[in-house]
Assembly symmetry: C2
Homo-oligomer: 150 residues x 2
C-alpha cells in the first residue's frame, strides 16, 4: 500500500480500456442526463453534435471507474475533497474505447489533520485515437504512513 | 424559450425532490465507483464514513438530472464547457432527498462564436435538512436570440 510519503510529484500512470457502448450511453443518460443528444439517436443527428454522444457526467464516471481499478488500487485513499477545472474537450461516441492518464501535480500535509495528506492529480480521459475527451484536477486525500514526522 | 439575452446575472432557481435509495447508491457505485464505502454496507460501517454513502460522481449525476428537469427546461442550452470548483461537502446517505439551488454569476458573449453566450452558474445540491452536500460552478453555453446585436 502506498501512503502519502510514497507519492512523488510528477509521477504518471496510464490505465484502462473501457469500451463505451450505445446501450450504456442511453442507459446513463435516461437516468441522469436526458437531453435529446444523449438519449435519442434521431434527435442527436439533428443536433450540433451530429450523432449520439455520451453525457459529460457519464464520461467522468467512466474515468472514475478506471481510477478505482487502476491508480487508486495501491493507494491509502481517504476520498476526495473535490475536482477543479473539469473540462469536456470532445464528445465521447458509441464504440469509443477510453483510457486514463494521471499525473501528480502537488502534495502537502493537511494543516488541520496531520494524519491526512493532500495530493492533487491531473487526469485526462483519452480515446483509442489519442484524443483527450475530458480532463480535471482531482483533489485527493491520502493517509500518512508516519503522521508524527513533521 | 429563454435565450442568452433573457438570462440575468443574479437570478436564482430552486428545483427538485430526488429520493436517493440504497439500491441506487449500490447500483451506481458497482458500475462506476466500486470503493467499499460505496458498495458494501459492512465495510462502510468500518470506514471513516461510518455508513454507506453515495459516490460523489453519483451525487453530481443526480444534480444534473434535476438541472435538466428544472432550470434547463426553458433554456436554449448549447451544452457545457465544463465545471469549476466541484466540491463534495458532505456525504449523501440512503434515504436522503436532494434538491438543487442555482444562481447565475456571470454572462458574456463568446469572442470566437457570436451566436454563443457563456453563462456561468453556481449550483448547490441540498438535503431535506438544508445541508449543502455538493457545489460547483457550471460553465454553460446558451444560444443568442439576436446574434447580430453587438
Amino acid at each position: 500500500m502506498r501512503y502519502y510519503e510514497d507519492i512523488e510529484v510528477g509521477e504518471t500512470r496510464e490505465f484502462g480500456e473501457y469500451h463505451v457502448t450505445k446501450e450504456e450511453i442511453l442507459e446513463f443518460a435516461e437516468q441522469y442526463d436526458p437531453q435529446p443528444f444523449h438519449t435519442d439517436e434521431t434527435a442527436a443527428e439533428e443536433s450540433a453534435f451530429g450523432e449520439l454522444v455520451a453525457s459529460g457526467w457519464h464520461t467522468a464516471a467512466i474515468c472514475m471507474r478506471m481510477l478505482v481499478d487502476g491508480p487508486m488500487q495501491d493507494r491509502a485513499s481517504m476520498g476526495a475533497r473535490g475536482v477543479d477545472e473539469l473540462r469536456w474537450k470532445q464528445p465521447v461516441r458509441p464504440g469509443d474505447t477510453l483510457s486514463i492518464r494521471t499525473e501528480v501535480i502537488d502534495k502537502r500535509v493537511s494543516e488541520s489533520d496531520p494524519e491526512r495528506g493532500y495530493v492533487d492529480s491531473r487526469l485526462e480521459g483519452i480515446t483509442q485515437d489519442g484524443d483527450v475527451v475530458i480532463s480535471w484536477i482531482g483533489l485527493g486525500m491520502i493517509a500518512r504512513r508516519n503522521p508524527g514526522d513533521d
